[in-house]
């Protein structure tokens, strides 16, 4: 890190603020009137959900730092206290903008399409009466009102749960208002449908209207919805999920009543109520978010899924069915002839699913080894692996039991795999296994053959439709040997190997990246053209950023497509004028990791499971693999290059740390990379079909 330390803090952007900037870009999409209403709503719900995670994880960790008196500045020169202050200011603005947008634009747009969330006052008598019955029969029995006094302390409210906070008038003989809490049951649907289709009332409003029944004989002075975010003891992983912190780290953290990091409360709550809650929760005024509108906007996601509103959402896009086009249902025969490089979701994920399924059923398959970092519930991968194990194939599965709230479910299917005879490994000690790789060993008349799938995305059929990722299906012997060695190392059967084609973290990946960047720099120094292009989710690693600055200063052209956090500051005179950073935020989550190096014309293209983040490079088991077949290289490169042409959803990061959207030049046709890649995939498939000739078959 020595190189990074000599650099000025002003050359770095704080990661938390960069993360907030990413969510501002997502909010921009929610605000974009050219997007259809339900798509906009989805973006708004994503921002809300992201913010929840952010507070529970990142803000919580800044609190820990300040709590422990840590004053060490981050790479951008901000102490934890300064970061907290800056984050708070920007988060407040983000929340305010989010709520204003929802109230002023998104909900009205929905209403004009017939979808409404009604307030209690907007309901007629009949509707209120019907809800009264519902309350009595279905809601009241599951409510637990809690009055708070000297004998009954403030309850430990679950993080992110919705609650009603009440102030009750003093009882005779006592002075001062009392607090009471009613938890809004999480088991009941929050959108309570009214008679007319598309009309809802929120569960908390139904409860609020009947509070008197919960506190008979008492005077309710006021009520408000509240919601807490607590330290989740988790880390974010940029893959739409949370992962548990390391055991050691967790052991150091003490559960405290005061570990709330944010209080959300309805506008209209009195200062007294807010102050009383703050005192109970040990929160500063900055940590209170007063919002105009419903709390927990994740509820909007449910609205986006309502039937009958197709006109309000993007038409679903059918991925190219690669297997149908190749007219080869047997993947093994297909892969015996050619490697496949798939770009999801433009191209279907089916071949990956089918490969493991066929492996389970093929009597000649001896072994299947696979990593499962985060897979979908009811995943067909698990089903296939279980079937394979029960057929006495050697099945080795490396499971990363991470998502805390899914832990039990994860363990259940992992146990089922074990019972079927699979060798299940629950992670590698000290490292999370983030690599995405599957290896199948099969007997053929010519001897053993190995089929390998390597990818930038998880083995998850659901996210494969929403995330953009690359996957390579190959039988290349060098890769197969590396894959075998990789699994031997992970299962503890062998020492970590020296790999030929694959590059593995935490052992070699950081060094390799630095060497590749340095090689471009040397080329530039000797007067050759030099270029780096890369795509990733986050760019935070100091050492890599320092290497990129050094390369830029020697004239290496560097183009980075970083979707989320970017701590690198491009365009700084004398430092990073040759670096360009673009972020694409569009309907699909940009997720692939691509690394390109010109290498004096003998260019190299790599795909990886890792970002340029210290966590990926040092604390995880990751894999990077080369793309060597010329047509595959061209395919990856063309996708990567297209990222830098997006005049619709591309946001360029400026030297000031602000993202700008220049838009198309006058007279230029707007370019939107996700549309382009989709059309490109369809075109290529059509061309291929024409080449192979169309066969008409009777029904």
């Amino acid at each position: 890190m020595s190189g990074a330390h000599s650099l000025d803090a002003s050359l770095f952007i704080n990661r938390e603020l960069s993360w907030l900037a990413f969510n501002e870009r997502v909010l921009e999409e929610a605000a974009d009137p050219t997007n259809l209403p339900l798509e906009r709503l989805k973006f708004a719900a994503i921002v809300a959900s992201n913010l929840d995670e952010f507070f529970m994880v990142r803000v919580a960790s800044l609190h820990h730092a300040t709590g422990e008196g840590d004053e060490a500045p981050d790479v951008a020169g901000l102490t934890p206290a300064q970061q907290l202050a800056a984050v708070s200011e920007r988060a407040h603005a983000l929340v305010e903008n989010l709520y204003r947008l929802v109230a002023d634009h998104l909900l009205p747009a929905l209403a004009s399409a017939g979808v409404r969330i009604m307030g209690w006052q907007d309901l007629d008598r009949a509707q209120q009466a019907a809800l009264g019955v519902l309350f009595r029969d279905a809601i009241l029995p599951v409510l637990t009102p809690l009055a708070i006094d000297g004998a009954r302390p403030f309850p430990l409210l679950a993080s992110l749960s919705l609650n009603l906070a009440l102030r009750l008038a003093p009882i005779d003989g006592h002075s001062g208002h009392r607090l009471a809490i009613v938890q809004v049951p999480s088991g009941l649907t929050r959108l309570v449908p009214l008679g007319a289709a598309g009309t809802f009332v929120l569960l908390e409003d139904v409860i609020a209207a009947h509070l008197a029944q919960l506190f008979p004989g008492q005077q309710i002075v006021e009520w408000a919805c509240i919601r807490l975010a607590r330290d989740a003891e988790l880390e974010l992983d940029d893959e739409g999920g949370r992962t548990q912190l390391e055991q050691v780290e967790r052991g150091l953290r003490r559960r405290r009543q005061s570990d709330a990091v944010r209080l959300e409360i309805n506008a209209g709550a009195s200062t007294d109520l807010v102050d009383q809650l703050r005192a109970q929760l040990d929160l500063t005024p900055d940590e209170v978010y007063v919002v105009t509108g419903p709390l927990d906007l994740r509820v909007l996601m449910a609205l986006t899924e309502l039937p009958g509103l197709d006109a309000l959402r993007d038409a679903p896009r059918q991925p190219v069915d690669v297997l149908a086009d190749l007219r080869q249902a047997d993947l093994f025969s297909l892969l015996d002839e050619q490697d496949l490089l798939l770009h999801h979701p433009y191209e279907s994920y089916d071949p990956v699913v089918a490969l493991v399924a066929q492996a389970a059923d093929d009597p000649d398959v001896l072994a299947i080894k696979q990593t499962l970092y985060r897979t979908s519930i009811g995943s067909s991968f698990i089903e296939s692996l279980q079937r394979a194990a029960s057929r006495n194939k050697q099945v080795t599965v490396l499971v990363e039991v991470t998502a805390r709230f899914d832990e039990e479910r994860n363990i259940r299917w992992a146990r089922a795999l074990e019972e079927a005879g699979a060798h299940v490994i629950y992670g590698v000690h000290g490292y999370k296994t983030h690599a995405k790789i599957c290896l199948i060993i099969r007997r053929t008349p010519q001897g053993l053959k190995r089929y390998v799938h390597l990818a930038t995305g998880n083995y998850n059929e659901r996210t494969a439709r929403l995330y953009t990722d690359f996957g390579l299906l190959t039988t290349a012997p060098a890769i197969a040997q590396d894959a075998t060695a990789f699994f031997n190392a992970l299962t503890g059967y062998s020492d970590p190997p020296r790999l030929k084609k694959l590059v593995m973290a935490p052992t070699d990946l950081r060094r390799r990246f630095l060497a590749l960047i340095e090689r471009e720099r040397h080329r530039a120094e000797s007067g050759q053209p030099a270029e780096i292009a890369a795509k990733m989710n986050s760019l935070i690693d100091e050492e890599i950023i320092a290497a990129l600055y050094a390369a830029s200063q020697r004239g290496v052209r560097i183009r980075l497509n970083v979707r989320g956090i970017c701590s690198l500051r491009p365009g700084v005179p004398g430092v990073s004028t040759n670096i360009e950073v673009v972020s694409i935020v569009d309907r699909l989550l940009e997720h692939a990791r691509i690394y390109y190096f010109l290498n004096g014309g003998e260019d190299e293209v790599y795909l990886a499971s890792a970002d340029w983040m210290a966590r990926n490079l040092d604390k995880r088991v990751e894999l990077m693999f080369p793309v060597e077949q010329p047509d595959h290289k061209a395919k990856v490169l063309s996708a990567l290059r297209a990222m830098f042409r997006d005049t619709t959803k591309g946001r360029w990061l400026g030297a000031d740390g602000v993202y700008g959207r220049p838009g198309p030049a006058p007279g230029e046709t707007p370019f939107r990379v996700q549309d382009y890649l989709y059309e490109q995939a369809q075109r290529t498939a059509a061309l291929a079909r024409r080449r192979t000739g169309v066969v008409l078959e009777p029904d």
Binding site: D336, R443, K449, T475, R498
Partner: protein
Amino acid sequence: MTDEATNPSPLPPAPPTTPAPELVAVLDMGASAIRLTVAEISAGGVIRTIEEASRGLLLGRDTFSGGVIRSSTIDATLLALENFRHILDGYGVRHVRAVATSAVREARNMDVFLDRVKRRTGIGFEIINEAEESRLVFLSVQRTLARNPALRGAWTLLAEVGGGSTSLTMLRHGQPNRSAVYALGAIRLRQQLDLRRLSHDVQLSLLNRSIANMIEEIRLDIPLSRVTQMVAIGGDMRFAASQILDAHADEGVKVLTRDAFLAFCEQVERLDEEQVIARFRLPAVEAETLVPSLLIYRTLLSETTAKRLVVVSDASLRAGVLLDVAEPGDRLSAEAFERQVLASAEAVGHKHRFDRAHGRHVAMLATRLFDAFQDDHGLSVRERLLLQVAALLHDIGIYISLRAHHKHTQYLLAASQIFGLSNEEMAIVSNIARYHRRRLPQHSHLPYVALDRDDRLIVDKLAAILRVTNALDAEHLQKVHDIRLLRHAKAWTLEITGTGDLTMEQLAATARADMFVETFGRELVVRPTGAQL
């Protein structure tokens, strides 16, 4: 990309009738690691590596310091092998060949250790001796050298520095001329010098001094100064090559210039173990061997005039074993093998200033006689070769003293290493040579009774032949050109043809037919061709 063939040559497209390739596994238990290779051998003997695994285990650390493998190391070994067993079971490999070298060979608890291994994992390890090790290592580079004549010099030194020993083979125009294995290894040095508590500088100077001492000894056997080309194999060299060339060195041949290699050594020797680990991100086990092993290579290189160091990356003991499994005994054609064994034997003779003409002549006569009644004595070409070696070298004891020189010959040969001959075979050869004169085998002759029954029988038969044929050149003048054995029912006649008067030879041979008569139960009459009874 879809062609799965790997080294050493592409898999030919197999016609459907070709039998499926056979899966084999080779394990090698060395001083610093246990390694596994799973490979396929197809009908043409083509080898395709499927999988390699290794576990760093410092068996040598135990053996070379305390003389025994400690129980904690045994447990770790058993665990590692059980894991390897899982790999083997995944493939259903049946054909397993497992070899162990010096760290096990020299451990006092070797038998108990290997027995536990066998019972726990079902893997039976075979201890191989130094000469066998050299032969197998040579096998693994032979093809590469044959394909690339440019990699060879007139005199090429093939060197492999391991954890326990250093194997050196001198190649004359690509053929092994002499070879030996020395107790000079990275782990062994560390243990013997007990380097742990010493400062890095002291460690270095101790290492260099011990290496220099050993090089003195090596120089006696191998004329290092004649070497014009050096070929190195082994993990540490592979690593050095990858660092120096900044490229993967897992496959093929890498050529390092002398200067580049020396510069790299200079850089590395300044680093202590911790720094080696940090700098190169090497596992601790490998970091421990890197410096001593590079120092050994460097010292060897600086003894030679070689301008460059050729690193053959895919060569190893395991690769040699695999080749041996693929075509046992066939990789080296019988003829080539014989030539190499004899060349190596002559090198031993040369070292002891033997009378080469006499040795060769006796060897010629002895094989003639051997061939003449092979159906009777029932011995094979392998024993024929042992006879040749014994005949070549039967007189080397004279180097010590003329008096009782047959006894000196015996122990000199027992301690010598000849390319391609195992320790057991050298024991046989040394006994054959011993009985070329004086007393016949006795129960009081320890080297003789140490042999098992079958081997004693071989010694009896071959020494009987050597005794007679050596007598035919008693004057070291090579007067007898040829012999013919006439087998009659009652007595056998050995007709000798030659230059001048052969009476002396006739008498001497008749006198030395004692063992022949005793062993084969036939009277042996020796007479010049044309002479009448």
